[in-house]
Protein backbone atom coordinates (compact mmCIF):
# COMPACT_ATOMS: atom_id res chain seq x y z
CA UNK A 1 0.00 0.00 0.00
CA UNK A 2 2.74 2.41 0.98
CA UNK A 3 4.62 1.46 -2.16
CA UNK A 4 1.57 2.22 -4.34
CA UNK A 5 1.09 5.67 -2.76
CA UNK A 6 4.77 6.37 -3.25
CA UNK A 7 4.61 5.42 -6.93
CA UNK A 8 1.52 7.63 -7.49
CA UNK A 9 3.14 10.60 -5.76
CA UNK A 10 6.29 10.07 -7.80
CA UNK A 11 4.38 10.03 -11.06
CA UNK A 12 2.46 13.20 -10.09
CA UNK A 13 5.68 14.99 -9.11
CA UNK A 14 7.35 13.90 -12.33
CA UNK A 15 4.38 15.11 -14.38
CA UNK A 16 4.50 18.56 -12.71
CA UNK A 17 8.25 18.75 -13.17
CA UNK A 18 8.02 17.92 -16.88
CA UNK A 19 5.09 20.31 -17.39
CA UNK A 20 6.90 23.09 -15.55
CA UNK A 21 10.06 22.51 -17.51
CA UNK A 22 8.13 22.56 -20.78
CA UNK A 23 6.49 25.87 -19.86
CA UNK A 24 9.85 27.43 -19.10
CA UNK A 25 11.40 26.07 -22.23
CA UNK A 26 8.31 27.45 -24.09
CA UNK A 27 8.90 31.05 -22.95
CA UNK A 28 12.59 30.90 -23.60
CA UNK A 29 12.22 29.22 -26.99
CA UNK A 30 9.50 31.63 -28.07
CA UNK A 31 11.59 34.59 -26.98
CA UNK A 32 14.63 33.30 -28.87
CA UNK A 33 12.53 32.65 -32.00
CA UNK A 34 11.01 36.13 -31.86
CA UNK A 35 14.43 37.70 -31.43
CA UNK A 36 15.81 35.75 -34.39
CA UNK A 37 12.98 36.95 -36.61
CA UNK A 38 13.56 40.59 -35.62
CA UNK A 39 17.33 40.37 -36.04
CA UNK A 40 16.97 38.74 -39.46
CA UNK A 41 15.47 41.97 -40.81
CA UNK A 42 17.97 44.85 -40.52
CA UNK A 43 15.33 47.59 -40.57
CA UNK A 44 13.31 45.83 -37.85
CA UNK A 45 16.44 45.27 -35.75
CA UNK A 46 17.30 48.96 -36.01
CA UNK A 47 13.82 50.10 -34.97
CA UNK A 48 13.59 47.70 -32.00
CA UNK A 49 17.21 47.58 -30.85
CA UNK A 50 16.36 48.73 -27.30
CA UNK A 51 13.70 46.02 -26.84
CA UNK A 52 16.00 43.39 -28.35
CA UNK A 53 18.81 44.34 -25.96
CA UNK A 54 16.48 44.12 -22.96
CA UNK A 55 15.17 40.71 -24.05
CA UNK A 56 18.70 39.37 -24.47
CA UNK A 57 19.67 40.74 -21.05
CA UNK A 58 16.68 38.99 -19.45
CA UNK A 59 17.61 35.70 -21.17
CA UNK A 60 21.18 35.97 -19.82
CA UNK A 61 19.91 36.62 -16.32
CA UNK A 62 17.51 33.66 -16.56
CA UNK A 63 20.36 31.40 -17.63
CA UNK A 64 22.49 32.55 -14.70
CA UNK A 65 19.63 32.04 -12.22
CA UNK A 66 19.00 28.54 -13.55
CA UNK A 67 22.67 27.68 -13.24
CA UNK A 68 22.54 28.91 -9.65
CA UNK A 69 19.63 26.55 -9.00
CA UNK A 70 17.04 29.37 -8.72
CA UNK A 71 14.46 27.89 -11.09
CA UNK A 72 11.54 30.07 -9.88
CA UNK A 73 13.23 33.37 -10.71
CA UNK A 74 14.72 31.91 -13.89
CA UNK A 75 11.15 31.20 -15.10
CA UNK A 76 10.07 34.75 -14.29
CA UNK A 77 13.07 36.13 -16.20
CA UNK A 78 12.24 33.94 -19.23
CA UNK A 79 8.73 35.40 -19.19
CA UNK A 80 10.23 38.88 -19.01
CA UNK A 81 12.47 38.11 -22.01
CA UNK A 82 9.45 36.90 -23.99
CA UNK A 83 7.55 40.10 -23.22
CA UNK A 84 10.42 42.26 -24.55
CA UNK A 85 10.92 40.04 -27.61
CA UNK A 86 7.24 40.19 -28.57
CA UNK A 87 7.30 43.95 -28.02
CA UNK A 88 10.24 44.17 -30.43
CA UNK A 89 8.33 42.19 -33.08
CA UNK A 90 5.23 44.36 -32.74
CA UNK A 91 7.27 47.56 -32.79
CA UNK A 92 8.86 46.53 -36.08
CA UNK A 93 5.40 45.73 -37.49
CA UNK A 94 4.03 49.10 -36.35
CA UNK A 95 6.97 50.94 -37.94
CA UNK A 96 6.45 49.05 -41.21
CA UNK A 97 2.75 49.93 -41.22
CA UNK A 98 3.55 53.60 -40.55
CA UNK A 99 5.97 53.62 -43.48
CA UNK A 100 3.31 52.12 -45.75
CA UNK A 101 0.77 54.69 -44.62
CA UNK A 102 3.26 57.49 -45.34
CA UNK A 103 3.81 56.09 -48.85
CA UNK A 104 0.09 55.96 -49.60
CA UNK A 105 -0.34 59.49 -48.23
CA UNK A 106 2.43 60.71 -50.53
CA UNK A 107 0.84 59.02 -53.52
CA UNK A 108 -2.52 60.57 -52.61
CA UNK A 109 -0.96 64.02 -52.34
CA UNK A 110 0.58 63.63 -55.81
CA UNK A 111 -2.73 62.53 -57.29
CA UNK A 112 -4.51 65.41 -55.58
CA UNK A 113 -2.04 67.83 -57.15
CA UNK A 114 -2.76 66.25 -60.53
CA UNK A 115 -6.49 66.52 -59.90
CA UNK A 116 -6.05 70.21 -59.11
CA UNK A 117 -4.21 70.73 -62.37
CA UNK A 118 -6.91 68.77 -64.22
CA UNK A 119 -9.55 70.99 -62.66
CA UNK A 120 -7.73 74.11 -63.86
CA UNK A 121 -7.49 72.63 -67.34
CA UNK A 122 -11.22 71.87 -67.30
CA UNK A 123 -11.97 75.46 -66.36
CA UNK A 124 -9.82 76.69 -69.25
CA UNK A 125 -11.43 74.29 -71.71
CA UNK A 126 -14.86 75.27 -70.46
CA UNK A 127 -14.04 78.92 -71.11
CA UNK A 128 -12.68 77.99 -74.56
CA UNK A 129 -15.84 76.05 -75.36
CA UNK A 130 -18.05 78.93 -74.20
CA UNK A 131 -16.06 81.44 -76.23
CA UNK A 132 -16.28 79.28 -79.34
CA UNK A 133 -20.03 78.83 -78.90
CA UNK A 134 -20.46 82.60 -78.59
CA UNK A 135 -18.34 83.24 -81.67
CA UNK A 136 -20.36 80.71 -83.63
CA UNK A 137 -23.58 82.43 -82.57
CA UNK A 138 -22.10 85.74 -83.67
CA UNK A 139 -21.52 84.17 -87.10
CA UNK A 140 -25.21 83.30 -87.21
CA UNK A 141 -24.86 79.57 -86.49
CA UNK A 142 -26.56 78.08 -83.47
CA UNK A 143 -24.20 75.50 -81.86
CA UNK A 144 -25.47 72.05 -81.01
CA UNK A 145 -26.55 71.62 -77.37
CA UNK A 146 -23.45 71.14 -75.21
CA UNK A 147 -22.95 68.40 -72.67
CA UNK A 148 -23.44 69.09 -68.97
CA UNK A 149 -20.55 70.10 -66.72
CA UNK A 150 -20.29 68.59 -63.26
CA UNK A 151 -18.45 71.07 -61.09
CA UNK A 152 -16.50 69.57 -58.23
CA UNK A 153 -16.50 71.60 -55.03
CA UNK A 154 -13.12 71.92 -53.36
CA UNK A 155 -14.78 71.69 -49.94
CA UNK A 156 -16.11 68.28 -50.88
CA UNK A 157 -12.57 67.11 -51.61
CA UNK A 158 -11.03 68.55 -48.46
CA UNK A 159 -13.47 66.72 -46.18
CA UNK A 160 -12.81 63.42 -47.92
CA UNK A 161 -12.11 60.13 -46.23
CA UNK A 162 -12.77 61.17 -42.66
CA UNK A 163 -14.50 57.92 -41.83
CA UNK A 164 -12.29 55.89 -39.51
CA UNK A 165 -12.44 52.14 -39.16
CA UNK A 166 -13.15 50.62 -35.78
CA UNK A 167 -10.10 50.19 -33.59
CA UNK A 168 -8.81 46.65 -33.43
CA UNK A 169 -6.17 45.44 -31.08
CA UNK A 170 -3.33 43.60 -32.69
CA UNK A 171 -2.50 40.35 -31.04
CA UNK A 172 1.10 39.53 -30.31
Amino acid sequence: MRLQVGVVLGVVALTFAVAGGAAVAGSRTKAEEALSSVKAEPSAAAVARLQVAKAEDALDRARAARQAGDATHADLLDDLALEWAVTAVDLARAAELEARAAEVEKETAELEARAKRALTLIEQTLARRGKAAEKLRALGVEPEPLGPVVPRAESEREGAADAQPAATEATP
Binding site: L77, L80, T87, A94, A161, P165, E169
Partner: protein, 378 residues
Protein backbone atom coordinates in the same frame (compact mmCIF):
# COMPACT_ATOMS: atom_id res chain seq x y z
CA UNK B 1 12.97 41.36 59.13
CA UNK B 2 15.19 39.69 56.74
CA UNK B 3 16.71 41.64 53.87
CA UNK B 4 17.74 39.77 50.89
CA UNK B 5 20.22 41.44 48.58
CA UNK B 6 19.79 41.12 44.86
CA UNK B 7 22.84 39.91 43.07
CA UNK B 8 24.22 42.58 40.68
CA UNK B 9 23.51 41.94 36.96
CA UNK B 10 26.53 41.19 34.85
CA UNK B 11 27.68 43.47 32.03
CA UNK B 12 26.98 40.66 29.59
CA UNK B 13 23.33 40.69 30.50
CA UNK B 14 23.01 44.36 29.36
CA UNK B 15 24.89 43.68 26.16
CA UNK B 16 22.53 40.79 25.42
CA UNK B 17 19.44 42.95 25.98
CA UNK B 18 20.85 45.71 23.72
CA UNK B 19 21.52 43.23 20.95
CA UNK B 20 18.03 41.81 21.23
CA UNK B 21 16.42 45.25 20.97
CA UNK B 22 18.60 46.28 18.00
CA UNK B 23 17.98 43.02 16.17
CA UNK B 24 14.26 43.28 16.68
CA UNK B 25 14.19 46.83 15.37
CA UNK B 26 16.17 45.94 12.26
CA UNK B 27 14.10 42.87 11.50
CA UNK B 28 10.81 44.71 11.92
CA UNK B 29 11.76 47.64 9.60
CA UNK B 30 10.00 47.70 6.15
CA UNK B 31 11.94 46.27 3.16
CA UNK B 32 12.90 49.15 0.80
CA UNK B 33 10.56 49.39 -2.26
CA UNK B 34 12.34 48.48 -5.52
CA UNK B 35 12.78 51.53 -7.78
CA UNK B 36 11.28 49.65 -10.72
CA UNK B 37 7.88 49.64 -8.97
CA UNK B 38 7.94 53.43 -8.93
CA UNK B 39 8.80 53.43 -12.61
CA UNK B 40 5.90 51.08 -13.30
CA UNK B 41 3.55 53.37 -11.37
CA UNK B 42 4.76 56.35 -13.42
CA UNK B 43 4.22 54.41 -16.69
CA UNK B 44 0.69 53.50 -15.59
CA UNK B 45 -0.16 57.17 -15.04
CA UNK B 46 1.40 58.52 -18.26
CA UNK B 47 -0.68 59.96 -21.15
CA UNK B 48 0.54 57.06 -23.34
CA UNK B 49 -1.05 54.69 -20.81
CA UNK B 50 -4.43 56.38 -21.18
CA UNK B 51 -4.20 55.95 -24.96
CA UNK B 52 -3.06 52.32 -24.63
CA UNK B 53 -5.96 51.58 -22.23
CA UNK B 54 -8.30 52.68 -25.01
CA UNK B 55 -6.59 51.21 -28.09
CA UNK B 56 -4.95 48.08 -26.62
CA UNK B 57 -7.09 47.23 -23.56
CA UNK B 58 -5.99 43.58 -23.20
CA UNK B 59 -2.29 44.38 -23.25
CA UNK B 60 -2.83 47.27 -20.85
CA UNK B 61 -4.76 45.03 -18.42
CA UNK B 62 -1.93 42.49 -18.60
CA UNK B 63 0.55 45.21 -17.59
CA UNK B 64 -1.71 46.33 -14.72
CA UNK B 65 -1.94 42.74 -13.43
CA UNK B 66 1.84 42.39 -13.48
CA UNK B 67 2.24 45.68 -11.60
CA UNK B 68 -0.22 44.43 -8.96
CA UNK B 69 1.63 41.09 -8.74
CA UNK B 70 4.94 42.95 -8.25
CA UNK B 71 3.42 45.05 -5.46
CA UNK B 72 2.02 41.90 -3.81
CA UNK B 73 5.41 40.19 -3.98
CA UNK B 74 6.94 43.21 -2.32
CA UNK B 75 4.32 43.07 0.43
CA UNK B 76 5.32 39.44 1.02
CA UNK B 77 8.95 40.65 1.22
CA UNK B 78 9.85 38.63 -1.88
CA UNK B 79 12.33 41.20 -3.02
CA UNK B 80 13.77 39.41 -6.08
CA UNK B 81 10.32 38.40 -7.39
CA UNK B 82 9.03 41.95 -6.88
CA UNK B 83 11.99 43.30 -8.86
CA UNK B 84 11.49 40.89 -11.80
CA UNK B 85 7.70 41.30 -11.86
CA UNK B 86 8.15 45.07 -11.74
CA UNK B 87 10.46 44.90 -14.74
CA UNK B 88 7.96 42.63 -16.47
CA UNK B 89 5.17 45.12 -15.86
CA UNK B 90 7.33 47.89 -17.37
CA UNK B 91 7.94 45.71 -20.43
CA UNK B 92 4.21 44.97 -20.64
CA UNK B 93 3.36 48.70 -20.52
CA UNK B 94 5.88 49.28 -23.32
CA UNK B 95 4.21 46.48 -25.28
CA UNK B 96 0.78 48.05 -24.73
CA UNK B 97 2.11 51.41 -25.98
CA UNK B 98 3.56 49.72 -29.07
CA UNK B 99 0.26 47.98 -29.79
CA UNK B 100 -1.57 51.30 -29.48
CA UNK B 101 0.89 52.73 -31.99
CA UNK B 102 0.18 49.76 -34.29
CA UNK B 103 -3.58 50.33 -34.10
CA UNK B 104 -3.12 54.02 -34.87
CA UNK B 105 -0.91 53.13 -37.85
CA UNK B 106 -3.61 50.73 -39.08
CA UNK B 107 -6.23 53.47 -38.85
CA UNK B 108 -3.92 55.92 -40.61
CA UNK B 109 -3.27 53.46 -43.45
CA UNK B 110 -6.98 52.73 -43.86
CA UNK B 111 -7.71 56.47 -44.06
CA UNK B 112 -4.88 57.01 -46.57
CA UNK B 113 -6.04 54.12 -48.77
CA UNK B 114 -9.62 55.39 -48.76
CA UNK B 115 -8.41 58.88 -49.71
CA UNK B 116 -6.24 57.42 -52.48
CA UNK B 117 -9.11 55.42 -53.95
CA UNK B 118 -11.38 58.48 -53.86
CA UNK B 119 -8.77 60.69 -55.53
CA UNK B 120 -8.13 58.08 -58.24
CA UNK B 121 -11.84 57.94 -59.04
CA UNK B 122 -12.09 61.73 -59.08
CA UNK B 123 -9.09 62.05 -61.35
CA UNK B 124 -10.53 59.53 -63.81
CA UNK B 125 -13.80 61.48 -63.84
CA UNK B 126 -11.95 64.74 -64.41
CA UNK B 127 -9.92 63.24 -67.26
CA UNK B 128 -13.08 61.99 -68.89
CA UNK B 129 -14.78 65.36 -68.48
CA UNK B 130 -11.76 67.21 -69.87
CA UNK B 131 -11.67 64.94 -72.88
CA UNK B 132 -15.35 65.51 -73.64
CA UNK B 133 -15.11 69.27 -73.18
CA UNK B 134 -11.99 69.49 -75.36
CA UNK B 135 -13.69 67.48 -78.11
CA UNK B 136 -16.73 69.79 -77.95
CA UNK B 137 -14.52 72.90 -78.03
CA UNK B 138 -12.53 71.49 -80.97
CA UNK B 139 -15.73 70.74 -82.87
CA UNK B 140 -17.02 74.27 -82.27
CA UNK B 141 -13.72 75.84 -83.35
CA UNK B 142 -13.65 73.74 -86.47
CA UNK B 143 -17.20 74.81 -87.25
CA UNK B 144 -16.12 78.44 -86.87
CA UNK B 145 -13.24 77.92 -89.32
CA UNK B 146 -15.50 76.20 -91.82
CA UNK B 147 -18.15 78.92 -91.49
CA UNK B 148 -15.60 81.68 -91.93
CA UNK B 149 -14.03 79.93 -94.94
CA UNK B 150 -17.44 79.60 -96.59
CA UNK B 151 -17.88 83.36 -96.60
CA UNK B 152 -17.01 84.89 -100.01
CA UNK B 153 -13.64 86.59 -99.92
CA UNK B 154 -12.94 89.68 -101.93
CA UNK B 155 -9.66 90.41 -103.64
CA UNK B 156 -6.82 91.49 -101.42
CA UNK B 157 -5.91 95.17 -101.73
CA UNK B 158 -2.77 96.04 -103.75
CA UNK B 159 0.36 95.80 -101.62
CA UNK B 160 3.98 96.96 -101.47
CA UNK B 161 6.77 94.56 -102.64
CA UNK B 162 7.60 93.73 -99.00
CA UNK B 163 3.97 92.95 -98.38
CA UNK B 164 3.82 90.76 -101.47
CA UNK B 165 6.89 88.84 -100.29
CA UNK B 166 5.40 88.45 -96.82
CA UNK B 167 2.16 87.09 -98.29
CA UNK B 168 4.13 84.64 -100.41
CA UNK B 169 6.10 83.45 -97.37
CA UNK B 170 2.87 83.08 -95.42
CA UNK B 171 1.34 81.11 -98.32
CA UNK B 172 4.39 78.80 -98.34
CA UNK B 173 4.15 78.29 -94.59
CA UNK B 174 0.40 77.61 -94.73
CA UNK B 175 0.83 75.20 -97.64
CA UNK B 176 3.58 73.38 -95.76
CA UNK B 177 1.36 73.16 -92.67
CA UNK B 178 -1.48 71.86 -94.86
CA UNK B 179 0.86 69.19 -96.24
CA UNK B 180 1.88 68.07 -92.76
CA UNK B 181 -1.74 67.98 -91.56
CA UNK B 182 -2.71 65.87 -94.57
CA UNK B 183 0.26 63.57 -93.91
CA UNK B 184 -0.81 63.21 -90.27
CA UNK B 185 -4.32 62.30 -91.50
CA UNK B 186 -2.84 59.76 -93.88
CA UNK B 187 -0.92 58.15 -91.04
CA UNK B 188 -4.11 57.76 -89.02
CA UNK B 189 -6.53 56.84 -91.83
CA UNK B 190 -4.80 56.27 -95.18
CA UNK B 191 -8.01 55.62 -97.13
CA UNK B 192 -9.98 58.54 -95.76
CA UNK B 193 -12.55 59.84 -98.22
CA UNK B 194 -11.81 63.44 -99.24
CA UNK B 195 -8.15 63.19 -98.30
CA UNK B 196 -7.08 62.62 -101.90
CA UNK B 197 -8.72 65.87 -103.07
CA UNK B 198 -7.12 67.79 -100.20
CA UNK B 199 -3.70 66.38 -101.09
CA UNK B 200 -4.16 67.34 -104.75
CA UNK B 201 -4.96 70.93 -103.77
CA UNK B 202 -1.83 71.08 -101.64
CA UNK B 203 0.33 69.63 -104.41
CA UNK B 204 -0.98 72.23 -106.91
CA UNK B 205 -0.18 74.99 -104.46
CA UNK B 206 3.32 73.63 -103.84
CA UNK B 207 3.98 73.51 -107.57
CA UNK B 208 2.81 77.07 -108.12
CA UNK B 209 4.87 78.34 -105.20
CA UNK B 210 7.90 76.43 -106.47
CA UNK B 211 7.56 78.22 -109.80
CA UNK B 212 7.86 81.49 -107.92
CA UNK B 213 4.29 82.63 -108.42
CA UNK B 214 3.37 85.83 -106.54
CA UNK B 215 -0.35 85.68 -107.11
CA UNK B 216 -2.30 87.26 -104.24
CA UNK B 217 -4.89 84.51 -104.28
CA UNK B 218 -2.22 81.94 -103.30
CA UNK B 219 -2.42 83.12 -99.71
CA UNK B 220 -6.21 82.63 -99.57
CA UNK B 221 -5.99 79.24 -101.26
CA UNK B 222 -3.28 78.13 -98.89
CA UNK B 223 -5.46 79.16 -95.93
CA UNK B 224 -8.34 77.12 -97.34
CA UNK B 225 -6.08 74.13 -98.01
CA UNK B 226 -4.84 74.18 -94.42
CA UNK B 227 -8.42 74.32 -93.12
CA UNK B 228 -9.41 71.42 -95.36
CA UNK B 229 -6.51 69.24 -94.18
CA UNK B 230 -7.17 70.10 -90.52
CA UNK B 231 -10.81 69.15 -91.03
CA UNK B 232 -9.77 65.82 -92.52
CA UNK B 233 -7.49 65.20 -89.53
CA UNK B 234 -10.22 66.09 -87.04
CA UNK B 235 -12.69 63.79 -88.77
CA UNK B 236 -10.12 60.97 -88.83
CA UNK B 237 -9.73 61.38 -85.09
CA UNK B 238 -13.41 61.48 -84.26
CA UNK B 239 -13.96 57.71 -83.70
CA UNK B 240 -10.98 57.52 -81.35
CA UNK B 241 -12.01 60.70 -79.53
CA UNK B 242 -15.47 59.39 -78.78
CA UNK B 243 -14.20 55.95 -77.80
CA UNK B 244 -13.95 55.86 -73.99
CA UNK B 245 -10.86 53.64 -73.56
CA UNK B 246 -8.75 56.16 -75.50
CA UNK B 247 -9.51 58.86 -72.96
CA UNK B 248 -6.52 61.03 -72.12
CA UNK B 249 -3.94 59.10 -74.19
CA UNK B 250 -2.35 62.25 -75.56
CA UNK B 251 -2.18 63.83 -72.12
CA UNK B 252 -0.54 60.72 -70.72
CA UNK B 253 2.07 60.57 -73.50
CA UNK B 254 2.76 64.29 -73.15
CA UNK B 255 3.31 63.88 -69.41
CA UNK B 256 5.54 60.85 -69.97
CA UNK B 257 7.74 62.72 -72.48
CA UNK B 258 7.94 65.78 -70.25
CA UNK B 259 8.88 63.72 -67.22
CA UNK B 260 11.95 62.29 -68.97
CA UNK B 261 13.40 65.83 -68.69
CA UNK B 262 15.31 65.10 -71.89
CA UNK B 263 12.93 66.78 -74.32
CA UNK B 264 11.00 69.99 -74.63
CA UNK B 265 7.66 68.79 -75.94
CA UNK B 266 4.80 71.00 -77.11
CA UNK B 267 1.45 70.38 -78.73
CA UNK B 268 0.02 71.56 -82.02
CA UNK B 269 -2.79 70.44 -84.35
CA UNK B 270 -0.82 67.34 -85.35
CA UNK B 271 -0.09 66.03 -81.86
CA UNK B 272 2.99 66.21 -79.65
CA UNK B 273 6.06 67.81 -81.20
CA UNK B 274 9.71 67.53 -80.18
CA UNK B 275 12.37 69.60 -81.92
CA UNK B 276 15.83 68.05 -82.23
CA UNK B 277 18.96 69.97 -83.20
CA UNK B 278 22.69 69.27 -83.63
CA UNK B 279 22.09 65.58 -84.22
CA UNK B 280 25.01 64.79 -86.47
CA UNK B 281 28.77 64.90 -86.14
CA UNK B 282 31.11 66.38 -88.75
CA UNK B 283 31.11 63.10 -90.71
CA UNK B 284 27.33 63.19 -91.02
CA UNK B 285 26.63 60.32 -88.61
CA UNK B 286 24.42 60.62 -85.54
CA UNK B 287 26.21 61.65 -82.33
CA UNK B 288 26.09 59.38 -79.29
CA UNK B 289 23.74 61.82 -77.53
CA UNK B 290 21.45 61.89 -80.58
CA UNK B 291 21.38 58.10 -80.72
CA UNK B 292 20.41 57.97 -77.04
CA UNK B 293 17.63 60.53 -77.54
CA UNK B 294 16.28 58.64 -80.54
CA UNK B 295 16.48 55.34 -78.66
CA UNK B 296 14.30 56.86 -75.94
CA UNK B 297 11.83 58.33 -78.42
CA UNK B 298 11.67 55.12 -80.44
CA UNK B 299 11.03 53.14 -77.27
CA UNK B 300 8.26 55.53 -76.28
CA UNK B 301 6.70 55.23 -79.76
CA UNK B 302 6.82 51.44 -79.41
CA UNK B 303 4.96 51.62 -76.09
CA UNK B 304 2.40 54.06 -77.58
CA UNK B 305 1.84 52.30 -80.86
CA UNK B 306 -1.37 54.29 -81.48
CA UNK B 307 0.78 57.36 -82.19
CA UNK B 308 2.47 57.13 -85.61
CA UNK B 309 5.58 59.27 -85.98
CA UNK B 310 6.05 62.05 -88.51
CA UNK B 311 9.67 63.12 -88.90
CA UNK B 312 10.04 66.52 -90.56
CA UNK B 313 13.35 68.01 -91.73
CA UNK B 314 13.47 71.82 -91.65
CA UNK B 315 16.33 73.67 -93.33
CA UNK B 316 17.69 77.12 -92.55
CA UNK B 317 18.80 77.83 -96.16
CA UNK B 318 17.33 76.61 -99.48
CA UNK B 319 20.64 74.95 -100.36
CA UNK B 320 20.40 72.82 -97.19
CA UNK B 321 16.97 71.38 -98.01
CA UNK B 322 18.29 68.06 -99.33
CA UNK B 323 20.64 67.69 -96.34
CA UNK B 324 17.73 68.34 -93.95
CA UNK B 325 15.64 65.67 -95.65
CA UNK B 326 18.59 63.23 -95.53
CA UNK B 327 19.01 63.93 -91.80
CA UNK B 328 15.29 63.29 -91.28
CA UNK B 329 15.72 59.92 -93.02
CA UNK B 330 18.64 59.12 -90.71
CA UNK B 331 16.52 59.98 -87.68
CA UNK B 332 13.62 57.89 -88.96
CA UNK B 333 15.92 54.89 -89.43
CA UNK B 334 17.18 55.24 -85.84
CA UNK B 335 13.61 55.52 -84.54
CA UNK B 336 12.57 52.40 -86.45
CA UNK B 337 15.59 50.59 -85.08
CA UNK B 338 14.54 51.59 -81.55
CA UNK B 339 11.13 50.01 -82.10
CA UNK B 340 8.91 52.76 -83.51
CA UNK B 341 6.28 50.85 -85.50
CA UNK B 342 5.13 53.58 -87.90
CA UNK B 343 7.41 56.40 -89.12
CA UNK B 344 6.92 58.79 -92.05
CA UNK B 345 9.51 61.29 -93.28
CA UNK B 346 8.89 64.66 -94.89
CA UNK B 347 11.22 67.46 -95.94
CA UNK B 348 9.61 70.83 -95.26
CA UNK B 349 12.51 72.84 -96.66
CA UNK B 350 12.61 76.44 -95.48
CA UNK B 351 8.84 76.96 -95.50
CA UNK B 352 8.38 76.98 -91.72
CA UNK B 353 11.16 78.97 -90.05
CA UNK B 354 10.99 79.37 -86.27
CA UNK B 355 12.46 82.89 -86.39
CA UNK B 356 13.05 85.53 -89.03
CA UNK B 357 16.16 84.86 -91.11
CA UNK B 358 17.67 88.24 -90.05
CA UNK B 359 17.88 87.25 -86.36
CA UNK B 360 21.56 86.54 -85.42
CA UNK B 361 21.20 82.84 -84.54
CA UNK B 362 18.38 82.19 -87.02
CA UNK B 363 20.24 79.48 -88.93
CA UNK B 364 20.88 77.41 -85.78
CA UNK B 365 17.29 77.76 -84.65
CA UNK B 366 15.57 77.21 -87.97
CA UNK B 367 17.53 74.11 -88.94
CA UNK B 368 15.88 71.31 -86.98
CA UNK B 369 14.26 67.92 -87.09
CA UNK B 370 10.71 67.70 -85.79
CA UNK B 371 9.57 64.39 -84.36
CA UNK B 372 5.77 64.48 -84.20
CA UNK B 373 3.77 61.89 -82.26
CA UNK B 374 0.60 62.16 -84.36
CA UNK B 375 -2.26 62.10 -81.89
CA UNK B 376 -4.99 59.55 -82.68
CA UNK B 377 -7.51 61.52 -80.60
CA UNK B 378 -7.94 65.00 -79.19
Amino acid sequence: MKHTRRAPRSRWWYVLVLCAVTGGTVSCAATPRPRVLGQADAAAESPAAREAAQLAPQAFAHAENLRAAAAAAHQRSEFAAAQILGEHSLAAYDHAFVLARYVKAEQRLARAEAALAKTQTELAELDEQQLRLAAEADALELKIKVTVDKEPKGKLPPASPERVRARRDAARALTSEARLLCLATELLEPDREGLGAARTTVTELEEELAKGSHKDELFLRATEARTTCLRQLTLARRPATTKAPEAGVTDRLFLELTETQRFFAFRDDRGIVINLRDLTAADGTLTADAREQLRLLGGTAKEHSGFPLLVVGHAAQPKQEDAAKAQAELVAAALREAGAPSVRVHGAGTAQPVVDGRVPDAAARNARIEVVFVSPAR
